[in-house]
Amino acid sequence: MRILLVEDDPKQLMPLKTVLTQAGHGVDGVKDGETAQKLLIDKDYDLLIVDWMLPRLSGLNLCSQYRAAGKSAPILMITAKDTSADKVSGLDAGADDYLVKPIDIPEFMARVRALRRRSPLWQGDMLCLEDLQLHLDTLIAERQGAAVSLSGREFQLLEYFMRHPRQVLTRNQIEQAVWEWGAEPESNAMTVLVRKLRRRLQVVGAADWIETIYSMGYRLSPPEIS
């Protein structure tokens, strides 16, 4: 999942980003509301995790503006404001879930999983394409009894491919989906990543599923099972 994490306290932002990345999500972490607002114009996210009290633009306003723009990705609000009146205003502003600090990581991750289940793209705890299965919680790809464990970024790439099968995905699209905002990948980083993923998929015999479309990008074309 592409997640936008907005939290002004770096001591809180970093560990949350770490756990989310370890769980195989692509996370963009920003420290203020305005930057988040700009990012939301450019990129689509599957989940927003927003702190209420943010410099420049509050998380509450960010939520209501996001909803006013007609976007529907779930929003998890994290905040130290704990009265039930606060919760009401938070949820009314457009948040789908509300978590009071201090954040307990297992609970936090469970809520993220719960929100993912609400996403229209969710199809269970694994993605299936023909006979290839991708386990979203364990980052394991499985096919015909063979399984391979993927790194975070390999997983994100494969997830992105599997969500858009048989489509030509441009290098720019892939970059947006897999690399964090502000972290420009090196010129050959994508080539390296695709090569790594192919090598992993060899284990399950699906390496040749990823096609290179010259000067455009890549495509995941699974063989039709007759």
């Binding site: 809180q12 756990v19 404001k81 704990d82």
Partner: protein, 430 residues
Amino acid sequence: MFNHSRRNLARWFTLSMGSILVVFAGIVYYVEVQDKLKGLDRLLYDKASVMAASVQYDLRQSPSNVDLNHVPLLGSGSHPLDKELAYARWYTAQGQVTRFFGAPPPERLAVGPGFLTVQLADPLTAEEIWLRQATLPIKGRSEILGYLQIAAPLTEVQDGFFQFRLVLTFAVPVALGFIGLTGWLLGGAAMQPIRQAYQQLQRFTADASHELRSPLSAILTNAQVGLLSTPEDEPSHESLRNIVDSAKSMSALVNNLLLLARHQGRLAPESLKLVNLNVLLKDLAAQFTKLAAEQNLTLTYELSKLPIEVQADPDLLLQALENLLANACKYTPAHGVIHLRLVGHINWAIIQVVDTGIGIPEADLPHIFDRFYRVDTQRTLESGGFGLGLAIAQQMVKAHGGQIRVASTVSKGSTFQVELPLKPHYSELL
């Protein structure tokens, strides 16, 4: 909440000042009546003296031979003293009427000497009129010659009283209205600093909440993330585990303290809902049955058959009852029994938490609701308590206008009883 206090203040002010006003008006009226009557009595006495002066008698003859011929009104010559008198009567020393003027008198003297207010039907108009009557013994040189009884109508005096009462009937309510208005304004003025202090406290708790939770959250999250990436056999794993535990218990403490700080005093009536205690307790019992079973305890409950409803904040009420049940579970050894009971009383809903636990020593009983008080420091530290659970329970129950009692015998068990007003303090608040 402030409007309610302001109304209360204004009401008490009006009530107290109003009672003072009414009592004062009553005293003034009474003094005025006494004064007027005294004046009339003096007048009657003077007239009677003039009449008595005209009584002639012969010293050598018996006292019954009194010559009344020259007495004004009574005498044969009838030279009216004035027209103000309603009647005049002469009774002999034995109380037998001999002469009279005005309304026909009773044959015998019925009253003793002195002043009296009497009612008389006017013989012409049959109208009831009030009279002030004086009965005076007239003395000769040594013995009583007879009794002179005269009476004057009270009409004029009564008119005066009536007007005075009329003025009071209008003036007192108007003054009461002004007092009420003043009370309301004064109440508003008195509320101002309280409102400010309250708002400051609210802001302080909100700020404190944020400032305490943010670093706690950072500690907890970082430690938990560290824990996730540290294998269990590494020594730092244990340290991280301790940090996580401490951060969690610190966070519980902060929550409890904020809860106590936020809900001081009675709850605002607008934040209360009608809560069905039967449903609330049934859910609570279900929740704790599992917890009790894990500790080899039996939880039973017995709820009133009639639905019992109170005005309450369900979250806060639940918090109080949870604390009591958690305590019961904590201090009851394995195979013990915890019993939850709900009964309705005339004006009270009574919830009892009865356990067969270790009990509370008598010396500790008066203190168990104090903040940070622990009966047995060693044991509570082990079970991770702060000594705030009962303080919270008591404050939450009090915030609902109820009270909490405890009875306990060491090694037999304890009974905590929560009493909540049915339709609590609602009529009182309005």
